[in-house]
Symmetry: C2
Subunit: 308 residues, 2 copies
Amino acid sequence: MKKVKVHSPGTVANIVCGFDILGLALSEPYDVMEVMLLDRPEVIIHNRDIFNLPTEAEKNVAGVVLLSVMERMNNTIGFEVTVEKHIKPGSGIGSSAASAAGAAVAANYLLGNIFSSDEVVQFAMNGEKLASGVKHADNIAPCILGGISLIRSIHPLDIVSIPAPDLFVTVVHPQIEVRTSDARQILKQQVLLKDAIKQWGNIAGLVTGFMKNDYDLIGRSLEDVIIEPVRSILIPGFDELKVKCKEAGALGGGISGSGPSVFMLSKDESTAKAVGHVMSQVYEQIGIDYNIYVTTINKKGVEVVSSE
Amino acid sequence: MKKVKVHSPGTVANIVCGFDILGLALSEPYDVMEVMLLDRPEVIIHNRDIFNLPTEAEKNVAGVVLLSVMERMNNTIGFEVTVEKHIKPGSGIGSSAASAAGAAVAANYLLGNIFSSDEVVQFAMNGEKLASGVKHADNIAPCILGGISLIRSIHPLDIVSIPAPDLFVTVVHPQIEVRTSDARQILKQQVLLKDAIKQWGNIAGLVTGFMKNDYDLIGRSLEDVIIEPVRSILIPGFDELKVKCKEAGALGGGISGSGPSVFMLSKDESTAKAVGHVMSQVYEQIGIDYNIYVTTINKKGVEVVSSE
């Protein structure tokens, strides 16, 4: 096998109360990546989109991932990758994770799937390191595995899949810039114990709600008393958006990753569409451009769609 | 019906990483309580044990619970209760919760179970308020409901039962005094965000492990980076005890409630017994008296054993 084409999905990290430990994969949007195996130690990058991402391998998220695989193979092979990005960089729905995870899964596939899923996650985390300075896995893990992932620990890596009922996800991406590094810098390094206790009650409730298919419990647990109050000030219209989406029937939701995208979970498609309608009304009124996705939780993760 | 006899079990609050939100019920030890319905507004208390607990209703944990039920019934009835306590006060395995929960369940039973389980928990919490100054439910809820309880929120009360596989519990109660109020006072009111993140990863892992019957995940998640490092200094031999119990095969464990009891979870009975043996060795060597219980998770909670 010499060539593989994959779809690498967007992801929602944190899922409101699970800062740095939870993430879910979206059915849409997804990047399309074609990766070819080379018989020489080189990583070549072609971008087929409008985002002007770097083409030098060591400055490109997919590039550093492929370089790390190449090194692991003792520089006996290389890769040529063509990226058609549909997940806008900086949107907060895991654009860099999609590049990193898609590259890692494709490379492993071309090599005969010799690496475990934990190893594939480790390769992909090199891309997140380049993108944000931190080797986090709350986008990478669900992007690769699909569904909802718990990253119980990074050192050592301990990823757990959380079963969940069918859920619809509405995402709005207001076209403003929130840099991940800024969103991280404004967080306080200390939190009140009483707030931490509330937060871990909600996290335990959310995970239990997912596993018991208890939609009401999921809704009650989608509350973040630590990160959201600080970060939401970077997102115009956030409070109004949240109130109106819940009025429209959403179970709950909040900032996707470090924003600016905001996501809402719903029990059925018609509610998810109504939530999308409310989102568009809010940003029409404020006068900010936006994209909206009405989608589902993607249960497959990065998907090989063809190979030759 | 005029009279009911209940068994009210000991409980382990916190379950290591779930400070203030998780608790489990033990099959042993349990208190035996007989409650009789009176046709006058009075609460009479008889203690049939060696602990010299107060017999004035308003100073007795079961008493204040029964008074609160009496008031709710517009003082049209009263109760006479006989308590045979087997759970030593101050042991850290929910002695006051057993008195409070047993009284609340028995009173509700005598009144034809007119109150919901949430209301019964609320009545019982009045007893915890008297005992520790705080209306917490992490002993009360599992004591009443059995199994493992998540208290997602106290205001409003939101209690969720967590399904779990069969587990054996070994508890050692070193005969030293740790006052709940002292154990609470030494806690820091602020915690590092990075520690809080570790903690909620472990809580999510523990809940997932219980619900997936994943013993290894349960073991890996039984880690507390916030409360245990502070509180364990009050318990002689704690670090050594923990290491040796894990060497003996325990999945993990830690301080029960605010101590001084220490509990360990095991997959099977022979391991739980071996863990008990190790516990006794540690306290023999230190020269502190102790009690040991080798038991299981109690799935029923407060149990009505006879009525007339």
